[in-house]
Amino acid sequence: MSTKRMIVLLSLIALAMSAVLITGCGSGDGGTKEPIKIGVVLSESGSNQPLGAPEKKAIELFEERINESGGIGGHDVEVIIKDDASDASKAQQAAVELIEQEDVVALIGSSGTGPTISMKQEATKNEIPQVCMAAGANIMDGDFTWIFRTPPTATEAGRKVLAYIEKVLNLKRIALLYDTNPFGTDGKAVIEGNAGEYGLQVVASEGYKTDESESGMDTHLTNVQTSNPDLVLVWGTNPGPAIIAKRMKDKGMSQPYIGSHGIANQSFIKLAGDAANGVVFPGGKLLIYKEVLDPSSAEYKAIDEFATAYMDRYGEKVDTFAGHGWDAMLIITEALKRAGADATRSELRDAIEETQGVVGSAGIFNYTASDHNGLTPDDLVMVDIANGQWEPGQQP
């Protein structure tokens, strides 16, 4: 085939493609007012799937509810959700597509820290507000002008736990077991970095892999025992912490077991069974709001409304991650209500930064120019597991 003919052919193909696509997709919605578009990137698949799935449900639920109640200033809210498959480069790609092609006014996402950071770079470059649902400490590194966060971070949870150990338990020697995944190493850094401030000592620090077998975990526990700790602090996501709880019980280790907010879900209790009893962990009030909150408080009402709606719509209990998605939508829509439905991206950002006292599922959000995390350790509570049920623990 000659070069010339090839080029002609290719140009024709290109033209044909554009023509088909433009005509095929030109149909508008025909509504009265332009919808407000919010772009969402989360992990529907890949390693962060357990986070992304409930987040997606909560976001879609929020979208339905706000549109049923008339939207914002008569404008519907349109949520466009993309999957990043827990992959940073796909998240970045998705963010660019949402910004450039869908012309969204704000971004939500993502579920995991890596994807969130790669989205953040696009959000910052394109000057578009982003509300993330990931907890990684380094998300706020560097320029955080455009990014806000809904979940409590390892810092809040870590400080809560350290205060609990110091004030409630009155113990000193911590044996730390952490998952070598990003969640675990994040917690490890916070615990090791702040233990001294609370007069505590980390006497063992063992990284394990989530896929470890029981006997593999026993190897780590043996190392832990030789360091003679007062308590065992486990920072990880399931199933590692459950295996550890079970093995500690089987081996007759009597030290208190303190978990992280990574086990603030029912599956920990399911996996660890009996061994879950006696475990204490920091969690959002969402989990045990009926037990710890005053039914007349604003927090109780906000959480109860969300939890009931979620149960009605999906037939299952809310979990923390669903809450993060819900809160992200809440913060953006509340800011839009204040800034007006036709607010520009930068006006919306300013409005989000002015968020004060917005009651979400994870706590009361207060953003300032210097703090885009919004929550404090007080938004977490220590939770006990007793008889396979969550109960409010002693608070430091």
């Binding site: 790609q93 890596g114 380094n138 070598t180």
Partner: protein
């Protein structure tokens, strides 16, 4: 453009005996397919950018990644397709390249391109250091390289003082050239200019003396040695080149992403790269382009379908990301069974010989 694959080009060298004066002309002749492809890419932003928001797919943006993975895949194809040495550890070189380039730019503050060059050198050096595994053959080599990938991943994660561990490296500067505006389109051009140079380099290489030597080793290393070819050294050289291209791709990737962490360079990346090579076509330079393009575009297109068709899209397609592994696994198995020479060969056979590109594995074959 696909039809004009390396096989027919390989037949040409002896026929070309023109003087040194018309080098340019002979280059153009030898790389007709490449030039057509270059023109195609050159005009791509012109038609693809305006329709991006209409088709809900920014082709140029996706093509940047295709370019990066093409570089890595073509390097891996030299090793697997041409030299017949399976590596399941190329995520290591990709990762080493990415970290080298990123850290040199972020921590040492050197210009991006110094980092990229160091990425190439560093991964080639690592390739040389681990070259003893090339003494192994077949499955043994595959498993040993898989082990290398795991080791590299663990070190990237655990050497927190250097790599930042799971927190990764953030704020990696973008790819840019002096005097060129920084945006997605300029990055697209930068990546593809490099990729095209690599493609030209590699298609020359496989038709050269070195290329024949590695292909000979693939077919019979004993016979190749008997022809005076230093088999182990040729393998090491091609392994280093392959590692260097992996490092180059990794370096470019780091600057495109702006953020890297160890989990991006797990062995699933190696398997993806191998899949690009085998689905595209082993022993085919264009196979790398086709494989990278197909495997990167396929999920994007399926994901975009609901936006084209609207709410009526069937649930399995809307939930495609849940099925991606199934489709991906099936593609690999079926490609090996029915189209073992990859889509480029299969399709060009179809065009040239009007023959089905699929082979029938259930047909009785003579026992060798």
């Amino acid at each position: 453009m696909i039809g004009d694959d390396s096989k027919s080009q390989q037949q040409r060298p002896h026929a070309r005996q023109g003087g040194a004066s018309d080098r340019v002309l002979s280059f153009l002749k030898a790389h007709k397919a490449l030039l057509i492809f270059a023109v195609f890419l050159g005009v791509m932003p012109v038609w693809a950018e305006p329709i991006a928001s209409t088709i809900h797919l920014d082709i140029v943006l996706v093509m940047r990644l295709v370019g990066v993975f093409t570089i890595a895949a073509v390097g891996l194809n030299l090793l697997i397709g041409y030299a017949g040495q399976v590596s399941l550890g190329h995520s290591a070189f990709f990762g080493v390249g990415a970290y080298t380039s990123a850290l040199i730019a972020v921590k040492a503050g050197f210009p991006v391109w110094i980092g990229i060059i160091m990425a190439i050198l560093a991964s080639a050096l690592i390739g040389l250091l681990v070259a003893p595994v090339l003494r192994l053959k077949g499955h043994y080599l595959a498993m040993a390289t898989l082990g290398l990938g795991i080791i590299a991943f663990v070190f990237m994660r655990e050497m927190t003082w250097l790599t930042g561990g799971n927190l990764g490296v953030t704020s990696i500067p973008e790819l840019s050239l002096p005097g060129v505006p920084k945006n997605d389109i300029s990055e697209f051009y930068i990546v593809w200019i490099i990729a095209l140079i690599i493609l030209a380099f590699c298609s020359n290489l496989v038709r050269s003396r070195t290329g024949r030597a590695i292909r000979a080793i693939h077919q019979s290393d004993v016979a190749a040695a008997a022809m005076g070819i230093n088999v182990s050294w040729e393998k090491i050289k091609i392994f280093m080149l392959s590692a260097a291209l992996g490092g180059l791709a990794g370096g470019l990737y780091a600057h495109l992403q702006g953020y890297i962490d160890p989990n991006l360079f797990y062995i699933t990346l190696s398997i993806q790269l191998v899949a690009m090579v085998v689905v595209g076509g082993m022993e085919s330079i264009w196979g790398a382009v086709a494989g990278a393009g197909l495997l990167i575009f396929l999920p994007k297109i399926v994901e975009t379908l609901p936006r084209w068709i609207g709410p009526g899209v069937p649930k399995p397609i809307a939930d495609y990301s849940n099925y991606e592994g199934i489709v991906f696994g099936l593609i690999l198995v079926l490609a090996m069974i029915f189209m073992p020479s990859g889509i480029t060969r299969g399709l060009s056979d179809l065009v040239r010989y009007r023959r089905s590109p699929f082979i029938n594995p259930f047909k009785k074959q003579a026992v060798e």
